[in-house]
């Protein structure tokens, strides 16, 4: 494993606090859907900071996409969200992690559950699922503060609008919903999970990603509902 030079190819605002960053990484071997990388920044005096970020893209190629949300008081994420520009250089190590990964030959129905920027590795899975033309059912639940805080919202809506039942999107808003939103506003609870996620009888593979509190609450509810703990994979994100 070694650090590779990465050049920022493009940066695009996703929400008020999040940005999509495309990196060109010569020698990148491609990555599976759900994997992450370590990103290293070096200041002029030699000081270094390393953080892990999920990869929003999947498959072969030397161009990859990250989705980064600004962590208040963080050290690396504010730089990536507010400062980094096309042409800037940094280092990455990866692809990393074989656990929180969706394999396109897995025929199981899949339930994705993302809180905040926990959506990033899940959209990689949704993209890989679509790119592979896989016929397994994907259902995705996103928890966001407001409609303006959903990362990759246009792309998720487009996937949801695709005819057929291969992909379905649900959103739970924790602060404010769209006008005339018929569902409760608040944190994802057992009732919201029962309303919006695949039933136990489907025995779905479940991927949960978000802040630690979100991941632990959701995983506990899923087990209480009756899902097999061995079918639930979790990833707690950091990246401050």
């Amino acid at each position: 494993m070694s650090w590779r030079l990465a050049t920022v190819g493009a940066a695009m605002r996703l929400t008020d606090s999040a940005r999509s960053i495309r990196l060109d990484v010569p020698g990148w071997p491609g990555n599976l859907a759900g994997q992450h990388l370590d990103l290293r920044l070096t200041a002029e005096d030699g000081y270094q900071a390393v953080r892990s970020y999920s990869i929003a893209s999947a498959g072969p190629g030397e161009s990859i996409e990250l989705g980064v949300d600004r962590v208040p008081d963080g050290e690396v994420s504010p730089y990536l969200v507010d400062d980094v520009m096309t042409g800037d250089q940094l280092e990455v190590r990866g692809p990393l992690g074989g656990w929180f990964v969706w394999h396109e030959d897995d025929p199981s129905p899949v339930q994705l559950i993302g809180g905040g920027s926990g959506v990033v590795p899940l959209i990689a899975m949704a993209r890989a699922h679509r790119a592979a033309g896989a016929t397994s059912r994907f259902r995705m639940l996103v928890s966001a503060r407001t409609p303006e805080d959903v990362l990759f919202a246009p792309e998720l809506s487009a996937l949801d609008a695709t005819p057929g039942d291969r992909f379905a999107l649900d959103v739970v808003y924790t602060r404010r919903g769209p006008e005339d939103w018929p569902f409760p506003i608040g944190r994802v609870d057992r009732a919201a999970l029962e309303r919006t996620t695949l039933p136990v009888s489907d025995s779905p593979a479940i991927f949960v990603c978000g802040p630690t509190g979100f991941v632990e609450t959701v995983a506990d509810h899923l087990v209480a509902i009756g899902h097999d703990p061995d079918r639930i994979k979790t990833e707690r994100f950091g990246g401050a």
Partner: protein, 87 residues
């Protein structure tokens, strides 16, 4: 700032030591015997220092540090680490 994460975050550092993905290896907690992949351990991270704890009993499984190109990992809370291709 301390970040409460999980074993997934250890993949890069452990990749400096091993040429396989150690986060998918199953470890056995020396304290309570729980078996789980390292990815599922609870991890507190701060400035390149990581303490991984058992998801069941909270005992320390491993302690790791990476500062610049130095990587040091202690596995003293693990009674073993195994690769199972089925996982």
């Amino acid at each position: 700032m301390d970040e409460r994460l999980d074993g997934n975050v250890l993949a890069g550092m452990l990749g400096e030591l091993f040429d396989f993905d150690a986060t998918t290896a199953k470890g056995r907690c020396r304290h309570c015997g729980d078996e789980a992949v390292l990815a599922e351990a609870h991890v507190i991270a701060h400035d390149g220092e990581f303490v991984a704890r058992c998801r069941k009993c909270d005992a320390e499984l491993l302690v790791a540090m990476e500062h610049h190109d130095d990587v040091v990992v202690s596995f003293r809370g693990l009674r073993g680490l195994g690769i199972h291709p089925a996982y």
